[in-house]
């Protein structure tokens, strides 16, 4: 299953958001990936998430597979939808 999300944070997918995403994705018995254009990365790996360099407004696809795919997808996508206040 997958969901399309838009990076709404004005600072883009900065390090704290990337860390929250990877920590969140790791909690579930699911394989979660994020795709930007032709590049797909593991949501569990903060370095991989940062390589997306996703600025504000970029559209991403979040995929989840596995026993807890639905829960993982909901929680990871919520991090894109709720602005994580940043100091980058």
């Amino acid at each position: 299953m997958y969901r399309l999300v838009t990076v709404s944070n004005p600072e883009g997918l900065h390090m704290r958001v990337a860390l929250l995403i990877s920590e969140c994705a790791k909690k579930y018995n699911a394989t979660v990936t994020i795709t930007k254009g032709s590049e797909t990365v593991s949501a569990c790996d903060v370095l991989q998430v940062l390589t997306l360099g996703a600025v504000s407004g970029v559209k991403l696809r979040v995929d989840a597979q596995g026993e807890q795919a639905s829960e993982a997808l909901n929680d990871v996508c919520a991090l894109f939808e709720n602005n994580v206040q940043s100091s980058v």
């Binding site: 004005p10 600072e11 883009g12 997918l13 900065h14 390090m15 704290r16 860390l19 903060v46 370095l47 991989q48 940062l50 390589t51 997306l52 360099g53 996703a54 600025v55 504000s56 100091s87 980058v88």
Partner: protein, 157 residues
């Protein structure tokens, strides 16, 4: 983006002396001051801003790497430096391990896109085990500059 667009060559530190997070941040910020890229008068304010950012969550992202950073009005453009520690720095990293390679980034307040591009570049290169290992093993500034240059020329892909 390329490393040579924001890493200040004269500030590269191949032998970081500090072993604690704040001391390491101070040492790196001072190297940017010494290189003439940060105003000395803003040093304390800048260090405080970087530490405040660390308090929100460590930028020690595992694999012996940390990317402390902040936004600060004392810079007109993104500046950065890199330091290598032989001893390791206690950084409250995600994996609990010491840090051996640190990239420090200072961005102007209104340039989030360039900050993200720099993070993307650093993350992309550090995912490469060879680049990461060579960087940790580098013992002089020339070797570090050479590695960054090779990364800029896609020699680690």
């Amino acid at each position: 983006m390329r490393f040579d667009e924001f890493i200040v060559a004269d500030s590269i530190n191949p032998n970081l002396q500090a072993t604690k997070k704040e001391d390491a941040i101070r040492e790196m910020a001072n190297s940017l001051v010494e290189a003439g890229k940060l105003p000395r008068d803003d040093y304390e304010s800048l260090v405080r801003a970087i530490i405040k950012r660390e308090e929100l969550g460590s930028t020690g992202i595992g694999r012996g790497i940390a990317v402390p950073h902040t936004k600060h009005p004392c810079v007109q453009e993104l500046v950065g430096t890199v330091a290598v520690s032989n001893k390791g720095v206690e950084f409250n990293s995600l994996d609990g391990e010491p840090v051996y390679v640190m990239f420090l980034l200072i961005s102007p307040p209104n340039e989030p896109a360039r900050h993200l591009r720099a993070l993307e570049l650093i993350a992309r290169q550090l995912r490469n085990d060879t680049f990461c290992r060579f960087l940790k093993q580098a013992r002089n500034s020339k070797d570090i500059l050479q590695l960054l240059s090779e990364a800029d020329n896609n020699q680690f892909e």
